[in-house]
Symmetry: C2
Subunit: 154 residues, 2 copies
Amino acid sequence: MQNQRELPIALRRAYLAMHRSTDHVFAKYEVTADQFVLLAALSDDQALTQRQLGLRISSDPSTVRAMLVLLEKKGFVERKSHAADARAKTVSLTPAGKRKFNQLWKAGQKIRKQMYSALGPDETEQFIEFLNRITRSLDNNRESHSKSHTTLKI
Amino acid sequence: MQNQRELPIALRRAYLAMHRSTDHVFAKYEVTADQFVLLAALSDDQALTQRQLGLRISSDPSTVRAMLVLLEKKGFVERKSHAADARAKTVSLTPAGKRKFNQLWKAGQKIRKQMYSALGPDETEQFIEFLNRITRSLDNNRESHSKSHTTLKI
DNA sequence: TATTGTTATACTCTATAACTATA
DNA sequence: TATAGTTATAGAGTATAACAATA
């Protein structure tokens, strides 16, 4: 184990560089990088419950709600009560939300290209695997703190 | 270039996992993960100016100031006017700040160990290099937007 | 003229705890 | 009893723009 600081610092720097570049590019579309991540999660599926959405984007229920309220105001998402479970709400993109997501996807192209071109194809694959291993190693940690290991059926 | 979402998402997840685990562990010490990063930057050197500190921890001048105000209130850092440059201020750890940093360093040991043990020694080195390449590829982008390329003499 | 830092301000994300309604 | 989501509340980090003092 080399210098014990290097890895965390490098991870932080890379993430922040990505996050801020993204925020910067998306500023004129009036959407944050985090909101984009939320829209992207919804663009995959027809609809998700708030809880599912929170798991996808690694955010708290109350954080998810705060974000949804902002995005609802802008008209990009809509919430309906879930057909089968009256406690739950399903979240989905509005047509305007889909258009916005497509815009953002294009606007973000340059950044993604920069990131991918920093690594060769094999390296990219390996890099992603490393990231996922890091994530798993830390998630194992948090399991012992969280209550429900049950309903992770995403 | 495979699925264009995978890399950014994996990077985000890994960073957030690290950041939140760290925040969680440090909560009882009443220091955030970001504040820890600032203290760590100061623990290397005798003193830094606020501007230098901002470059180290990838933060805005006004963000740095906000963080320093909080840490000053807790008695962990002190600011003095710079001997040679009356505009600048030098920031350094107080004795209490050094003690706190040492505490935090120990408290964070488990998380660092988890991260490093997810990768072998060679993999770790490679992973850090990949991260740095990603960072550089994005920083090149931002150069064109920022004013001063001159004084990056850290 | 350029740079260091401050101030005022505002916004997003985050988190906790108590709560309602439903399962 | 457990779960989905809300509410109230608070705090941290972030960023911008105008500013004073100094280089």
